[in-house]
Subunit: 764 residues, 2 copies
């Protein structure tokens, strides 16, 4: 609590200073938001969609040990937990907001005094190279992170370009200055994770190599080239076995000291320098998905110099450019911090995944060249199809089309002939459920952002939706539902497949393929097959056609759902909200049902095993910290009670997003939570991606200007905006009354002005 107060105080004082000098948008970014508890964001340096995410890691406890000792297996998804007192070092790759993890490549840590090559433990930081630090000495801004390492009195600063991490270490007076390169370190480590590591000391300032891991991505290799700003005095290496025990070297050399070539499963290296008090040693670490030659070329292309401040500033300008796509006026500074930090978090993943020459490693592990597009990776699609990709279709249309081209390249390279499910670094990790790539494609097509091969895209969608061995699809395609006794989380799967099938039908309609449109429209009604009218909930059905007995609609586990209970998931028919209302007994009955969701008291026992969200991430039984309910607050628009949508949305905006480290009520999930914030703050939300409509809610800004890529602007004005005035009494689009609860994509992209008249009383 003390830390939070300190944090807020520091932050407000920096705001106060900045205000005077006409503050830039990027200066509202606070990378520490979400770094405490369940946000799973990282505080380090990155540029928009950057291949490098250079950030401090506060723990390296291996997965197995973690599970054994405290059960917090998901705590270190982004490597950093704000409550931790020590920093292990600075690694170059991090997911933003995920609930499972990987990466943490190439940890660098400066130290002084007697060489320590083990990281040590958090309770005894002096036992290893890790260091205590204090938030009082920590700065995190757009593309910049700074911290004082207390154990060694070293100041560490980090910044980055697209593919290069840039470190600046200011050493105290010392006889022994080391920079450690820990090639064993990784996020979500376990004994078999490190597959192979290869390192060459090319000369007295350049190191190259690669690290190959078997983690969430089974076959992942990242190549690097690392340059020092001054000559190495001496260097060395140690190899370790799977249990972090020192392992001797072999062959005819003393490979432990000044031997320029290392290869093995687990390697740590150190580089020693002669430094004067206050001297700065800089390190550039370039990454490549292709080769060490590629990494070196990336470094030469992006940061040929040693001007740390220039790289930092270049990155700030890149963020400013992206943030300028939505200029806002808000009631409070906190709203601006929330909004621009949400944009920041929305623009981290997916990441660019190719060398400067367009080469990248494909899913088939061959090297491909991105021809005419930028190749992206890290597709957390179960999360991001909902609002992040729809947001991109408004403010990042070129990138979104390139992401779809990347997904189609994935399909081309897939031995499964499938689009990505959850993919990263040339691997499919198959995480979560559904084939939501089809939603991303359908949404882009529905919105005219379709500069890709649509016929091929439809073929890819059809193929993905018929992958027999995937998650019960064999049963779904033959029976119309996934039987719970054949394949778990069966209701969630059935519901999401049905929605995805509707998306495929939309694509087919768009390109005039009637047969496919009909077939998939039929499949899109499969949601009905798992609705049990007897209890009014979606409910798992068995292979014999009977519903599961002993059913608990409140429990998230073992009831046929994933990351959601029956209460939340039964509302998941985004493709047919009107039908959903009917299924639930009509508008009034459904309104009451929704009200109950938000107001009921959920017994604590239902939170015992939840790791993706915090207690704060829940309102009644409405779970905002997980994604399946993200559209739910907007469903009142279909029950004749848009004012309830307006009220709920404002409540969620202000309750679930706070400008502090523990301000996120759940995993940010590669920007999906943030995208929800951005859309809802602007006053509308894509309930059914794949349609061109946005459900209207209640804006949280005073004014917003969308600077579109087509050079048009779309302005949103909320008249009489105030914390109390959450209700919309009237809407005008380009001066004309807008008498409906939705907005179309074209109305945005053709430019114009949308005026909300806010009121503290709901409109009758």
């Amino acid at each position: 609590m003390k830390l939070n107060i300190l944090f807020t105080a520091l932050f407000l004082s920096s705001l106060a200073f900045a205000q005077k000098t006409e503050k830039k948008n990027y200066q509202y970014i606070n990378p520490l938001i979400g770094t405490q508890r369940m946000g799973h964001t990282f505080p380090g340096a990155t540029v928009p969609f950057g291949s490098v995410q250079l950030s401090p890691d506060t723990d390296t406890i291996a997965y197995e040990l973690n599970k054994k000792y405290n059960g917090k297996v998901y705590e270190y998804c982004a490597g950093y937990q704000h409550e931790d007192k020590t920093i292990v070092g600075f690694s170059h790759t991090h997911f933003s907001g995920t609930g499972h993890s990987d990466l943490g490549d190439f940890l660098i840590m400066p130290s002084t005094g007697e060489l320590q090559l083990n990281p040590g433990t958090a309770d005894k930081p002096l036992s290893g190279y890790r260091s205590a630090y204090s938030h009082a000495n920590e700065t995190a801004t757009a593309n910049y992170y700074k911290v004082k390492l207390d154990d060694n009195n070293i100041t560490a600063e980090l910044t980055a370009s697209q593919r290069v991490g840039f470190h600046r270490y200011t050493f105290p007076s010392t006889e022994q200055a080391h920079i450690i390169l820990d090639l064993m370190h990784g996020i979500y480590n376990h004994n078999e994770k490190n597959v192979w590591t290869f390192v060459r000391v090319e000369n007295d300032t350049l190191i190259t190599g690669y690290r190959q891991t078997n983690g969430w991505a089974r076959t992942r290799t990242v190549y690097f080239a690392m340059a020092f700003s001054k000559s190495i005095k001496q260097y060395g290496a140690r190899k370790y076995d799977e249990n972090n025990i020192y392992k001797g070297f072999w062959r005819k050399f003393d490979e432990s000291k000044n031997f320029p070539e290392q290869a093995g499963r687990n390697i740590r290296m150190y580089f020693d320098f002669d430094v004067k008090a206050g001297e700065q040693v800089l390190v550039k670490m370039a990454l490549s998905p292709v080769s060490t030659a590629g990494a070196l070329a990336n470094m030469q292309a992006e940061i040929p110099h040693w001007d740390f401040d220039k790289t930092k500033h270049d990155g700030e300008l890149l963020w400013e450019k992206e943030l300028n796509k939505i200029k806002i006026e808000t009631l409070t500074e906190n709203d601006k911090v929330n909004f621009y930090t949400a944009m920041y978090h929305a623009f981290i993943n997916p990441t660019v995944y190719m060398d400067t020459d367009g080469s990248y490693k494909g899913l088939d592990q061959n090297i491909h060249k991105a021809d005419g597009f930028t190749n992206y990776t890290t597709f957390s699609l179960w999360d991001t199809y909902r609002a992040l990709h729809p947001l991109f279709n408004i403010v990042q249309p070129t990138r979104n089309a390139d992401m779809i081209k990347s997904m189609l390249a994935h399909y081309d390279q897939s031995v499964h002939h499938a689009l990505p499910v959850w993919s990263h670094y040339a691997n499919e990790n198959w995480c979560m459920i559904g084939y939501h790539s089809v939603s991303v494609i359908a949404d882009a097509i529905a919105k005219g952002n379709d500069d890709f091969d649509k016929e091929k895209a439809l073929r890819a969608c059809i193929s993905s939706s018929n992958l027999k061995y995937f998650d019960g699809l064999e049963y779904y395609t033959s029976k119309g539902y996934v039987p719970e006794d054949k394949n778990g989380s069966s209701v969630s799967k059935t519901l999401e497949y049905a929605y995805d099938d509707w998306c495929i039908a939309q694509i087919a309609k768009n390109i005039g393929n009637k047969a496919v449109a009909e077939e998939y429209t039929k499949r899109s009604n499969n949601y009905k097959n798992v609705f049990d009218p007897a209890i009014g909930f979606m409910r798992p059905k068995m292979n014999d056609g009977t519903f599961k007995k002993d059913f608990d609609a409140l429990d998230t586990h073992g009831q046929g759902f994933i990351e959601g209970n029956a209460w939340n998931y039964s509302l998941y028919v985004p493709q047919y909200p009107d039908e959903l209302v009917k299924l639930n007994g009509g508008k009034e009955k459904f309104t009451q049902h929704l009200d109950s969701l938000f107001t009921m008291t959920l017994p604590d026992k239902y939170f015992a095993n939840t790791e993706d969200i915090t207690r704060d991430g829940i309102i009644g039984n409405y779970v905002h910290g997980n994604e399946p309910s993200h559209h739910v607050a907007y469903l009142y628009n279909w029950t004749g009670h848009p004012e309830k949508t307006q009220q709920r949305v404002r409540m969620i905006l202000n309750g679930m997003y706070k400008p502090k480290p523990d301000g996120l009520g759940g995993n940010d999930d590669c920007g999906q939570m943030s995208a929800w914030y951005i859309f809802s703050s602007l006053g509308f939300y894509p309930v059914a991606p794949g349609s061109d409509q946005y459900a209207i809610g209640s804006p949280n800004i005073k004014e917003a200007t969308l600077n579109l890529e087509n050079e048009k602007t779309f302005t949103i004005i909320a008249k009489n905006q105030s914390p109390a005035n959450v209700y919309v009494s009237k809407i005008e689009l380009n001066g004309k009354l807008l008498d409906r609860t939705y907005l179309t994509h074209k109305e945005i992209t053709q430019g114009g002005e949308l005026v909300f008249y806010m009121s503290k009383k709901p409109k009758k």
Copy 2:
């Protein structure tokens, strides 16, 4: 013994048949020579310098187990031992004649009946997929191997193109026909050898993937594309832990059956087919050092068809073309078999190491393109600098220059800035001693086969000869010898470094670099520093300058030598034979000394730990089975007794090389043993590679015609040739008396006729 008789009988009968139809040279090739005991050759199919060596492996006992149970750790260097009764399967990469090993990639084995995915053991072949076989049902000829697998009554046939192994399996009537792909199998396996394996079933006839190992080559990856001639009915995979115990699968799929993507450390796969009795299933396995895409392109380029017999015949023609470079007439058919099989073994390694487009993986693990040359790998230089590369300078000059270009590319890519020592598959394994690349380069330059950058070559040689951390060079360069108490095998190292330094001096002289020539000429005299005149032998010197006490000049182990004792190694001053004679007390004393070497009786105890040679590989104390003495028989030329050279050479030719499986008295060592045979049979030998002279011995042929690349021919005629007429009474070169004991390279390459007049009495 029975088997040998059978073998000889079969072979002679095939000869008898072939004689009638004007036999081709390639038909004299007998790949089974050297496959029994210590020859370490393989009997399978390959084309000249082929990237693929497709051959049966008769055991897969892992290194650790092997060591534990029978100590024969070096027995399976080529995967096949002629005395074994079972065949495990057919793998695609094999060294020829090495004393250490690696490779054995991608073992394929057909089987019927109940699926067995473990190889089983030799004593219980029915316990696994391996099969008993009989030499009566085995055929091995140039680029063709055939065997009946007795356990399943399957006939297996193998052939190959440059980069593709081609299998033809004839199945009996069976309900269950399997083809197993064992990706765990490897030669010289041990628990940590398999690093990663990746496989994709692309469609019902095509499999791709790679295998990455940590063996003799630390970081070695081989990529493959495998095609079947008919559709797979079903397929599956199993993963195993390091101890070959079945390991379950993970994630959301049943990956064990019909799941198209596999990744892990240890994987075996099976593919099932519907076959009729007598039906043939063909398999093409293409390799690439670069990628699966490269492997597939190699397959399409080299064997786009399914005509097994065509590929077999194409390979026979390639061998015929190479063998036609030396047309011989001999006293016996056996001499022809020996000679052409020696040429066959000489033209297996080094192997072509690049895709059809010239791409290959370099020592830095980056992909490079061979620009204007063919890239080769597998440089067993401690062996092959002696006679194999000199032989190439006569009959394979283009290939030898390309090999040097490959060595210079290795230097460019080496973080050690060194030329190859013993390199294979983008790795330096540092095996044995010396920096003998410099000899290969010096020899090529001395012989005018120098179409490469000579200035750069000299830089590379100088750098290689000053690699401080390599094998005592730090001491050698400062003290003039390697101290035994600092670095073992010190005398061998000192002697070989001194010879290598002489080679560098020759290169420097050639390009007019006097300073380097002087410096290295000085270094080339360092052999004197380890000669102990008190005992008349080279002897280990300690760091303090005193000679090692307790010295045994007969022992090969622990006395400062490697693969040789002081008796043999003390004769290793090939660069200065006259000086060596002087050092040993002059011509007569040295003649007696050499006589003693050949005639003394060596106590059996000195053979207890020898694994590279057989008892038959030794004459007195002269060890022909290892390389350090290969020049020794020719030293009599410098003592005024060339007739003793002539007699010894003929004795060795006829005693150490026999046309039968156990016919080689030691490891063939990538063709060095064979190259000795070829040179000596022709009547001369390169005592000091790097000079342009060949010491004249006693030819074993009746006539030989060298068809040179410059389109000239050099004919050697041995008049009055007979087994008894081993002495040369007169030599005429182009009709003129040649009154010296050497021949120059130019005399060969300008074409002409060399006539030996043979006699049963030595010339006075």
